[in-house]
Symmetry: C2
Subunit: 320 residues, 2 copies
């Protein structure tokens, strides 16, 4: 995967998208979701995502019931980053020839994911394309919609030096960096099973925090492709100091044995699946985020060094 | 493609989807889109679709600039069937390794399609998965959102025997039945280019007709997979008599040389890409549908024979 090439394509995409009416959308933090106004007060947030090459691991292990959770997680976690409440989900499932075991497993995971995210599985598309997918191979895309009032929209503009960064613990690799992980790790069943651990769906916990203490929340970053650089998406005039990082999951420690430290932070979640930036007293937000059993704690502070992220106990400094 | 297996899977899906809150959605004609209430009066319609194996033809010919039109067409044409006005579009583009020519071509088509449909291209996901897609191969899914007021929602319940069926001419095979077409046709460049003719985007014309004469429109069927059986999706208590069919495009005539007539009507659009069912005087609706240069005309009548479709000049009778 040539990241530079991908980024140049995304730049061209942005130019094209502007031509096609992008200016009518409301500004939302980090581009995690597009927000379209329904009227002056209410908008809908929409996003799409896949699970990347995690699905090749599922194919190899013939374990299909967790990928749907990842799929919903990737979309629902993105929606809450702009302040939206996830409502409905659609899936696109493409395969060579329909295999009942695969299809039923995937759907079971999607249903479980929608349940965790409080979303309605509103429909989807199942496509059989024998010439495109090999036997047992498939692709999976998710599409999620949420509601957001204009006054509740998170733009990232309220982020200021001195604010608290709350980290929410990840369950493992989640759904990004799987290609690199497969390249450096052995393909024994135990390792692959650890890679398959489903992504945590943070959206219900974050929605609860937003509903009760939204006025305190200045920014939310879902740590996906690009690792901790995702924080730079929120606001380009500040920096981030991670002073007390969350524990790194074992599977990521294993990968770290083969990959340079800086590359680890630029690719993986490194134990933090979600970051929430809080103004003022962070205790009530922490309590709301932790209430559903998720591990959330203060991990750092917003700084005045633009696009710079430092990590306690590490020589690595990320720059945007 | 085993249609029976697919249909059984969709039945299982429906059971599962009901568990996941399907009852909160508004009833909409034919399941062309899911409609989710924003408040008591306003809803949003959402749908997802792909272009099927038409993309293998594009890959083979290395012509990538029309598939995006098909992608938007499949989604936007579905949205108007429930009475919604298409607003925003997202694409999911997955490939082995990003190829600039392919990516830029696909996006150009999507932008052109969004322009024709009056939609904003709000974003998308580009996924590189080397282990899943061969060199030059890719998949493409579209997600589309529209607005619909509850009182403008088309449920199909207003369809009655005696109403007029308007047919809107197709441009060729559109985006369904490509696997069968490739199986029976020669793969010379001329034939493949004819198969690649983009799907007509009817949504702007239909939206105009709905805005001006919506009270007359009882049902709209996008003729996709399943061919003319799509009409049965609208209302199971009536039948359809096609008395004056639209001309069959040459490429479909060519396929008809190798495929049984009944199979043709059950698989392809047979010259009619969209059907609009009209109560009372159909002239104003016809005028609105034709104003943008699309060919629309009266092709038949709704009958009182449930789930039965007859075709003038053909011995074929379809049953639901």
């Amino acid at each position: 995967v040539d990241v530079g090439k991908g980024e140049r394509f995304v730049d061209r995409l942005k130019t094209v998208a502007r031509r096609a009416g992008h200016d009518k959308l409301w500004k939302a933090a980090g581009g995690y979701a597009a927000v379209y106004p329904i009227n002056d007060r209410d908008g809908i947030a929409i996003t799409t995502d896949g699970v990347g090459t995690k699905l090749l691991i599922a194919s190899y292990l013939k374990r299909y019931d967790t990928l749907g959770i990842d799929l919903v997680a990737m979309c629902a976690n993105d929606l809450v980053c702009v302040g939206a409440t996830p409502t409905v989900f659609l899936d696109y499932f493409a395969t060579g020839t329909l295999d009942d075991e695969i299809a039923d497993g995937l759907i079971a995971g999607i249903v479980e994911g929608c349940d965790q995210a409080g979303m309605i599985l509103a429909g989807g598309e199942t496509a059989e394309m024998p010439g495109l997918y090999e036997r047992g191979h498939f692709d999976l895309a998710g599409f999620a919609v949420g509601n957001v009032a204009k006054e509740r929209l998170i733009t990232g503009d309220a982020i200021r030096p001195g604010q608290t960064i709350i980290g929410m613990a990840s369950s493992g690799i989640h759904s990004n960096g799987l290609s690199l992980a497969r390249k450096v790790l052995s393909d024994d069943t135990g390792t692959l099973e650890a890679l398959l651990t489903p992504t945590i769906i943070y959206s219900s916990a974050v929605s609860n925090a937003l509903a009760a203490h939204g006025f305190r929340i200045a920014g939310i970053a879902h740590i996906t492709g690009g690792g901790w650089r995702n924080l730079f998406r929120l606001n380009s005039s500040v920096g981030f100091a991670i002073e007390d990082p969350l524990p790194v999951p074992d599977i990521l420690k294993e990968i770290a044995g083969h990959v340079q430290e800086e590359e680890m932070y630029k690719t993986f979640n490194m134990g933090m699946g979600m970051s929430v930036i809080v103004e003022g007293d962070s205790e009530p937000v922490l309590k709301a985020l932790s209430s559903s059993g998720l591990l959330a704690r203060q991990v750092g502070t917003v700084t005045d060094k633009p696009m710079t992220l430092t990590i306690a106990g590490s020589a690595v400094t990320l720059r945007g």
